[in-house]
């Protein structure tokens, strides 16, 4: 008995280490085994999913991963989920970035998802980075063929996919990911492409909602949580699901800690210690 009391005492004195080990285990667990803990699915995520589900194989889709690597954890996993769906639907994808880190992030996404038997240059292409933010967007909207070389230096004329890209109207859908200020993309692309979907950090949702209700944006995915919802719709749990699993587990653990902490505190206090 005395040994057990000793152990509890040691653990009580080092409660921080105990808590941290618990958090680490719960964060690692879903990375190894995706659990698929149920989450509520937002209407907008379903709308985005249905929109992509209705695309025909061979339709052209334009994608801009415009965020910084440091923000990966906020929007990257959702981008993975939506790109995975695009490759599953066998649409043709053109990637162009208006952020300097965009092309590298596009490569990261393509490396992490299962692209099946899609061929570079035929089914998808990475056009690289266009400097100049909103001016660059306006120029691209005016003439997408303005770009002469892709990210790897191949002339655009030699790429089969680009033969069908004559104007911005050839794209059926535009997907862009950004972290904070979505206005430039919406200003330039709204009305030029039939549908626009954005993947955005949860912090910026309030900035985007007016555009969604106004119709300039077709739908949006709110960050990694949106990604997890999307993966649940695809029935294909991935990184976003494991992140949300870990978040759910950790926060439940934290809530248990609060309860346990209060019980032990009040027990001591009522005993008059």
């Amino acid at each position: 008995m005395s040994e057990k009391g000793g152990l509890i005492e040691v653990l009580g004195r080092n409660y921080r280490q105990v808590i941290w080990i618990g958090v680490l285990i719960l964060c690692f667990l879903p990375a190894f085994v995706p659990l698929g803990i149920p989450i509520s699915i937002d209407k907008l995520t379903i709308k985005a999913y249905k929109c992509i589900e209705e695309l025909e194989p061979g339709d052209l889709v334009l994608v801009s991963p415009d965020f910084t690597p440091g923000m990966w954890v906020e929007v990257g996993p959702a981008m993975n989920a939506i790109m995975q769906h695009l490759f599953m639907k066998k649409v043709r994808i053109v990637i162009v970035s208006f952020y300097i880190d965009g092309p590298v992030l596009a490569e990261k996404i393509l490396r992490e998802i299962d692209i099946g038997d899609a061929k570079y240059g035929v089914d998808y292409v990475n056009l690289g980075y266009l400097p100049g933010m909103e001016t660059a967007m306006a120029a691209f909207v005016e003439n997408p063929r303005r770009i002469e070389y892709d990210y790897y230096g191949t002339p655009v004329e030699e790429l089969e996919i680009m033969k069908d890209v004559k104007s911005i109207g050839d794209f059926k859908l535009y997907i862009f990911a950004c972290v904070t200020w979505p206005d430039p993309w919406i200003r330039q692309f709204s009305g030029k492409v039939p549908k626009i979907i954005t993947v955005i950090s949860p912090a910026a949702i309030s900035l985007v909602m007016p555009y969604v209700s106004g119709g300039q944006l077709y739908s949006m995915l709110p960050g990694t949580k949106g990604g997890a919802e999307y993966e649940a719709l695809m029935k294909r749990p991935g990184v976003a699901t494991s992140i949300m699993d870990a978040t759910s587990l950790c926060l439940t653990f934290v809530m248990l800690l609060v309860i346990v902490g209060n019980i032990s505190y009040w027990r001591k206090r009522l005993r008059g210690e």
Binding site: L24, A31, A246, L251
Partner: protein, 220 residues
């Protein structure tokens, strides 16, 4: 090269996280490495900035920039017992412009800007919005009342201050809870990075080292 970078980052991450267990030589190494790296990078960025905003304009004939440069170099006199009063000149200029900037915006943005939203067109909204409006008014006014310094918090002011403190506590709790949800993402992201090969092979090594250390120290 990518694999080597991943391995180095994974090793550094585990070394840094060893602090969660206890203060170790591994953590100390990462701690000092980070100081050195960030100093090196800050130095590079600063020299680059100085070239752009000082050296090049001055060589182009903008000689007036010598005045702020002298004030800037006066900051270095703080290391000398004899001349350190001169460093206050430079500090005064930096602090003065900062204070001016802050005070200039304090009234329009932080005071008037915060009062303006208290207007609510009562005819156009329903009962729930009016209740919320009242809640915001009460919490704001009582929080302001809490900061009163020249009266003891007794009587009506005491009650107002108490309600103000309670509403502040609710606000703090809410921010605290909301922040954890976001900051956890970074830990999870690191865990997902660590679970990939080849980094994942480092995990058992780290666990063995810690277990050995716990046994060696006998549960201190």
């Amino acid at each position: 090269m990518e694999v080597i970078a991943s391995l180095i980052v994974a090793i550094l991450t585990l070394m840094a996280w060893s602090m969660l267990y206890r203060e170790t030589v591994f953590y100390r190494f990462v701690e000092h490495l980070i100081i050195g790296f960030s100093m090196g990078y800050t130095l590079y960025i600063t020299i680059d900035t100085l070239k752009k905003i000082w050296i090049s304009p001055m060589l182009a004939g903008n000689w007036i920039l010598i005045i702020p440069a002298i004030l800037g170099f006066l900051l270095y006199t703080s290391f000398s017992e004899r001349y350190r009063y001169l460093s206050r000149w430079g500090i005064a200029a930096i602090a003065g412009s900062g204070a001016g900037f802050a005070v200039g915006r304090a009234v329009p943005v932080q005071i008037i800007g915060q009062i303006k939203p208290f207007f609510l067109n009562l005819r156009e909204v329903g009962a729930p919005a009016i209740i919320n409006w009242l809640v915001v008014i009460i919490t704001t006014v009582t929080t302001l009342a809490y900061f009163t310094f020249t009266r003891e918090h007794k009587g009506a002011l005491g009650w107002a201050a108490k309600i103000g403190r309670w509403s502040m506590m609710a606000a703090f709790g809410a921010t605290f809870g909301a922040t954890i949800g976001c900051d956890l993402l970074y830990i999870i992201e690191r865990c997902i990075f660590l679970h990939k090969a080849p980094q994942v092979y480092l995990l058992p090594i780290a666990i063995i080292v810690i277990v050995v250390d716990i046994l060696r120290r006998g549960g201190k």
